[in-house]
């Protein structure tokens, strides 16, 4: 077994639990519901238990105190007020710091922090609580356990029923009775430890578990089938007769229940003798005493003793995982390594290309059967593509939740009262996009809290509620995801921005700028209007970096603001970075792919119109002026324009333009291959793809093309359009 790997799992699990804990604490601050206290308690309890297994005594000691306080909260011995909630948040951070240090002793400062926190917690502790010693007792075993022969054919069955079993019309007693038909029930222990306090106990929920010793000549599948109807609704462990290691797995798995009681039950059912149990327990304590200086990790110690098979420690971790799963109940997850997923998606990309090639050659063969077969394959391939991309889609809610803490901390630091509203948390987008958007988003949220929302006094004078609101919203719109950060603060000061911009020489003619253009100036490098430079933001870096990060994701950001009513920053991102549905067009021998989401319609350019538009760059499309981009001219391609030309009308962000191409080649699934670093400066092209016939097609970057059209329009009066791109593309 790889203990390090196990420890990594512990770290990952703990981080998740700590994240959950943070969310719960923040929820509690708002609502103070008792149901969440249970979840909170479980988080801390599970971390404590797992830390105990790895011998992280300092973590155990600290979490123990926190756990106790949560327990008292749960029992309503104390009530949760703001100061305690804030303190618990700090404790969470401390636990996180301790866990991250792993087996290392915490440093001087960390220890001092811990002591300070413990001291701060004292008022909430029960009077009779002494400084915690090591509360966790992990049952261990001495090697001689292996020598014991199989104790007949007694199966040990441990079952914990889910809360809803009774409501689903199942009766656990019935299952036990039915077990009796398989053989002889030697012993049953009823585990009622999960029964909550009488006033919170729901009489229609099931809180019981059972340890059953069954003497039967049968197999595991048969026993399992007894519980078939509740299989998803209960935790079932079946230990075959004479299985040694498994019994200890069982012990550890049951760790969150009282160890001593569990031990007693196993003794009672004849699975272990009392002497063996006592030996195991005292053996551990002795070792602990001897190695007080730097205790080895318990898991390692056990393996050294030869007492446990690797399965043991894994089982302990599995326990932790199961508790988590029980918490999430409905949703089940499989943890997959990101690079495996990445490899899969790459392969799917290749598959898409290969299937396009197969389709092409099938078309050429004029064989109906081949054609049909290839067609059905390509339908499946398309589905696989969609499904595998979905694997990477995650709801943005988790990222949003993280900002609760950011807003809370920052607003406290600034002495403002600010609420964070979250909507559209279920909106999904690519995991890689999520990861990369977190930083820019954090910056925007901090900005909103710091600069957007005014101080309470100012707000009241302005006739607004003293509590400011920052709203995070996400939704899908035509192949993009839109994330909005909105505040109800003072809004952007148009005049001040303009003044500053002139000062910095960013604009020359301040009169002719629209509001939108003025507000967009905040994204210019080195621009900041904050009057007071706080340590949070306002140092003149940031918005330009935000914009650059977003553009790197093929996204855009825009700002909308109304004086006195607030500011909205709207980020528009593509759903995924890997594959897009494209529309394939041809100009001479070169192929271009237009992302299908941008295509509005296709129109044929009649010979008359061809003549008419030769001298100008727009066309009358059903009474609308549509600017035209001749791709042949724009990319300086060789060859004369074809006899027939077509217009692909593209739209993005409320703007439209017509791309003049020779041929329309239809829809095409496009696997984006990024261009080499040599071409990073290239605007108008976002990537390349390989066609079925092996040729390279370039993917057009519609937003940047459109913005070029806009700036081009401005300069059109002075000079006719000249080829703007050098012959970069000739080789394709």
């Amino acid at each position: 077994m790889n203990l390090d790997a196990a420890f990594q799992t512990f770290l990952i699990e703990s981080r998740e639990l700590l994240e959950e804990m943070e969310r719960l604490l923040l929820d509690l601050e708002g609502a103070g519901e008792s149901a969440d206290l249970d979840a909170l308690f479980r988080c801390v309890h599970t971390i404590k238990g797992a830390a105990g297994i790895f011998g992280l005594d300092h973590v155990v000691a600290f979490t123990h105190v926190v756990e106790e306080i949560l327990d008292r909260l749960r029992a309503r011995a104390i009530t949760l007020d703001d100061s305690l909630a804030a303190l618990l948040l700090q404790c969470r951070d401390h636990i996180a710091a301790l866990v991250e240090r792993g087996a290392d002793r915490p440093g001087e400062t960390l220890e001092a922090d811990g002591r300070a926190l413990l001291a701060a917690l004292t008022p909430w502790q029960a009077n009779d609580v002494i400084t915690p010693s090591l509360p966790i007792v992990v049952p261990t075993v001495s090697p001689e356990r292996y020598e014991r022969g199989a104790a007949g054919d007694v199966w040990h069955i441990s079952v914990r029923f889910g809360r809803d079993v009774l409501r689903h019309g199942m009766d656990p007693i019935g299952f036990i009775r039915y077990l009796g038909t398989l053989g002889r029930i030697e012993h049953v222990s009823t585990v009622g430890d999960a029964l909550p306090e009488p006033d919170v106990m729901d009489p229609e929920s099931c809180y019981l578990g059972f340890q059953i010793a069954l003497a039967a000549a049968t197999d595991k599948a048969t026993i399992e089938s007894v519980f078939e109807f509740v299989r998803d609704d209960c935790e079932l462990h079946i230990l075959p007769p004479g299985s040694e290691v498994a019994r200890y797995i069982e012990l550890i798995q049951a760790l969150p229940e009282e160890d001593a009681r569990l031990g007693d039950m196993l003794v009672a059912s004849g699975a272990v003798t009392r002497t063996e149990l006592a030996n195991g327990l005292s053996g551990q304590q002795a070792a602990e005493g001897a190695a007080a200086g730097s205790p080895p990790r318990l898991g390692e110690m056990l393996v050294q003793q030869g007492a446990v098979a690797p399965a043991l420690v894994d089982a302990a971790l599995g326990k932790q995982k199961r508790t988590r799963e029980a918490r999430q109940q409905s949703s089940q997850y499989i943890r997959v390594q990101a690079d495996k997923l990445e490899a899969l998606i790459n392969l799917v990309g290749e598959l898409v290309i290969a299937s396009a090639a197969a389709g092409l050659s099938a078309q050429r063969s004029h064989d109906a059967a081949t054609h049909e077969a290839v067609a059905s394959v390509s339908v499946l391939v398309e589905e696989i593509r969609d499904r595998s991309l979905e694997l990477r889609m995650v709801p943005i809610g988790e990222t949003f939740q993280r900002f609760q803490r950011v807003v809370r901390d920052v607003s406290q630091q600034l002495g403002k009262e600010i609420r964070l509203d979250i909507s559209g948390a279920e909106t999904e987008l690519d995991k890689t996009v999520v990861e990369k958007i977190t930083d820019p988003l954090t910056h925007l949220v901090r900005n909103a809290v710091d600069h957007g929302i005014e101080a309470a006094a100012v707000r009241i004078t302005a006739g607004k509620s003293a509590v400011g609101t920052v709203r995070l919203n996400a939704f899908h719109e035509s192949g993009s995801i839109i994330i909005e950060v909105r505040d109800d603060g003072s809004g952007l000061d148009r005049d001040r921005i303009l003044r500053k911009a002139v000062e910095r020489g960013l604009v020359t003619d301040p009169e002719n700028l629209s509001d939108g253009e003025v507000f967009n100036l905040i994204f210019e490098p080195g621009f900041s209007t904050a009057e007071a430079v706080t340590n949070l933001s306002g140092r003149g870096v940031g918005m330009d970096v935000v914009k650059r990060n977003i553009e790197a994701l093929r996204g855009t950001v825009e700002v909308e603001s109304a004086r006195g009513a607030g500011t909205t920053l709207r980020i528009r991102l593509p759903l995924t970075l890997a594959i897009i549905d494209g529309f394939l067009t041809g100009v001479g021998v070169t192929s271009f792919v237009v992302p299908l989401g941008n295509v509005v319609e296709c129109v044929e350019l009649t010979p008359a119109q061809q003549l008419e538009t030769r001298s100008r760059d727009f066309i009358n499309l059903r009474g609308e002026v549509l600017p035209l981009v001749r791709l042949r001219d724009h990319f300086a391609l060789s060859g004369a324009s074809g006899r027939r030309e077509n217009i692909v009308v593209v739209g993005y962000g409320g703007q439209k333009a017509g791309l003049v191409v020779d041929e329309l080649l239809g829809e095409h699934q496009t696997v984006i291959k990024p261009l080499g670093s040599l071409f990073t400066h290239l605007s108008g092209i976002s990537g390349s793809t390989i066609l079925g016939n092996g040729a390279v097609a370039l993917i057009l970057d519609i937003p940047s093309l459109l913005s070029q059209v806009r700036s081009h329009d401005a300069g059109r009066q002075e000079r006719r359009a000249t080829p703007r791109r050098a012959r970069v593309l000739a080789g394709s």
Binding site: F161, V165, L166, D171, P172, I173, I176, R177, G180, I185, H187, V188, S189, T190, G192, L195, P198, D199, M201, P203, E204, C206, Y207, L208, F210
Partner: protein, 109 residues
Amino acid sequence: MAALVSVQGAEQLRVEGELAIQFAAELKDTLLRSVQATGEVTLDLSGVSEVDTAGIQLLLLAKRAAAAVGCRLRYINHSPAVVDVVELLNLSATFGDPILLAVAAGADR
């Protein structure tokens, strides 16, 4: 077949019919109400025709609640249905009340 706890004086309770999930909420309230005060409460189970997990769970809960407030709660006159389940789940020690009919039923253990 309603299972109700009828109060005969303050300390004498009796369950009639099914000690089961359908009546669990009702039973819980009555049971917990009667074990509030310190003193001695007996629950006559002779009229119980059926017991399920929810019922057993309530009996466990009531015992625990009673112990917490220092009330002595006794289950008496277990009906065959109750004995059957208590024996199956090996709860007689947990409940701690003498089961008079148990001699025959528990003999195979």
